[in-house]
Symmetry: C2
Subunit: 339 residues, 2 copies
């Protein structure tokens, strides 16, 4: 048995290669009966369809979009925000009959895959700076989400303004404020930022949010001590709990916790309640992102809702559009019992 190709299958069935190709790609170009017969025969022969490499070469596009996640793929599975985003992405890609290929932003080598995909949707700034450089030089379409890359379109919310709004909703005169921040410095464990150098200042959404918090505090006549700004390496229970415990043990104890994700906000509330603190009487908490779990938890968490599934869909639409401008998506401040 020779290799299975359009050509060999065509010869086998006594039709032209064009007809086989049309059977797979353009059903209107041949009779229903012949198409059925062809697909049936292909199935029996074990021919699964046109070779993707050849198809990609001829068509000039493969129909595959690479989505690059900031860190490990595990992040996306555990984090409700990221997984919602991916749901939106895959739903919108399906509508356009496109395939999704998921990559980790850690070890991926763009050069190896670049010719096989139609472009990259990059969710969050990858730690791997070499990857950023490759994205910058790529001749494929690149769309970034939750961070910016010079000259490339992006999809974002106005993180600075959203952080400002959420802080303004909770701050009062004479508050002691602590920030539970996400990836503010280059460290693998939770710790106060202090005077350590900030990580990737210009592009990170975390720093935009920090700016927003600070603007709100300024407007309220408050100042933020670097000791009260905590770095959390990843948005998960363990890190968050660790940081929350540490922050709540500081003296003076904060009266407001500004948290850069809802997971962190929830952990912070749990720890505060455990210490016998009352929310919002003794301490107020705000989160970020908007996840369902905060609605079921008591007290409910004041947070910035940002509709990650819609963001995923918007990202795909922006990726597919010819428009190279960046866009800001709407967000919504929702007040809960925590403030």
């Amino acid at each position: 048995m020779s290799k299975l190709t359009l050509k060999s299958v065509a010869k086998n069935l006594g039709v032209s290669t064009a007809t086989i190709s049309n059977a797979f790609n353009r059903p209107d170009q041949l009779s229903v009966a012949l198409r059925q017969k062809i697909l049936q025969a292909c199935h029996e022969l074990g021919y699964f369809g046109p070779n993707k490499a050849a198809q990609s070469l001829r068509k000039g596009s493969s129909g595959i979009v690479a989505v690059i996640l900031s860190d490990s793929l595990e992040y996306m599975v555990s984090d409700p925000v990221a997984s919602q985003f991916l749901q939106g992405v895959s739903r919108e890609l399906e509508r356009h009959q496109l395939h999704l290929l998921l990559f980790s932003g850690q070890a991926t080598n763009l050069e190896a895959i670049s010719d096989f995909v139609d472009g990259f949707i990059c969710y969050g700034a990858p730690r791997n700076t070499g990857l950023i450089e490759q994205l910058r030089k790529s001749n494929k379409r690149v769309l970034t989400v939750d961070f910016d890359l010079a000259g490339r379109p992006s999809v974002n919310i106005d993180n600075e303004q959203a952080a400002f709004d959420s802080a303004m909703a909770v701050l009062r005169p004479k508050d002691t404020v602590a920030v539970l921040g996400l990836r503010l410095i280059d460290a693998a464990n939770s710790q106060p930022v202090g005077d350590k150098p900030m990580w990737d200042n210009q592009s990170s959404i975390a720093h935009r949010r920090l700016d927003g918090y600070q603007r709100a505090m300024q407007q309220c006549g408050l100042t933020l001590s670097a000791d009260y700004v905590w770095h959390i390496p990843e948005s998960n229970q363990n890190y968050a709990r660790e940081a929350a415990q540490a922050v709540l043990a500081m003296s003076p104890r904060p009266t407001v916790l500004l948290c850069m994700s809802d997971l962190i906000g929830l952990s912070a509330m749990r720890e505060a309640l455990q210490l016998g603190l009352r929310i919002p009487e003794d301490i107020r908490v705000v989160g970020f992102d908007g996840i369902e779990e905060t609605l079921r938890y008591h007290p409910t968490l004041t947070s910035v809702w940002q509709f990650s599934d819609a963001k995923g869909e918007a990202a795909v639409r922006a990726f597919l559009s010819a428009d190279d401008s960046s866009q800001l998506l709407p967000y919504q401040l929702r007040l809960g019992e925590s403030s």
Copy 2:
């Protein structure tokens, strides 16, 4: 500026396409001076090398090997055994000038990538059964590691015998034995196996190891109660600690813990010591895999060492060889203070 291709670059430089191609692929086919000039010019033009899709089509291979990990990619980062394996794989691939592309066994769709890679090295049985079906039908080379797929070559150690050996090294008459097993049933949290149906009985290394433990116990005149066999969903600290605590609280308390990974073994020892138990006087522990950390920890852990980096190299060599037979790699029982 038209599209950058071999052809356009060749015309630009006034040489043939063959020469450009040779400049990238066969340096011995042209003079050093011309080659330098060409590479220099390509760099300036922004031509990064031959299109991979066309190259793959013409050559019949892309030089990319897909490695599919059983679960999340996070697993590989945190787990020292898996990351050592990957180091071995990438080292050996580099020797053959091949590229490594990492995929999660969870959401990956083989059809989308099959035509772009030369084959699959599958590390551990993927949870996603649809993926197994795709691997079975694939017309590309497939090599499995730590599990078997009918008709495909595999690389393994003799898990049954190794488990038998490790158990024999520790068992004594009248022991109460508990097994801390990895992925024995289809459940997301640690729990005793009891009478729940085993997960994927034939292919899993966990069940081979369980068989080995049981054969050893039989030979020592012991029987294993299903209540003392614990399922742990993933080899990480939290799950392991949880299961260890539960097992140590059982009555009668086990005098021997057979652990299916060293991470689990270490966690179990930590918990036992915390309870004031003496190792090995009150309780003996054996692990599996062999990781450096067990040598630094006190007491050192009796374990089956299996040289994961060498396994990675062996996997690549088996993948590249024309030989379709499966192979068993050597392992080594190393006695520690824990038995």
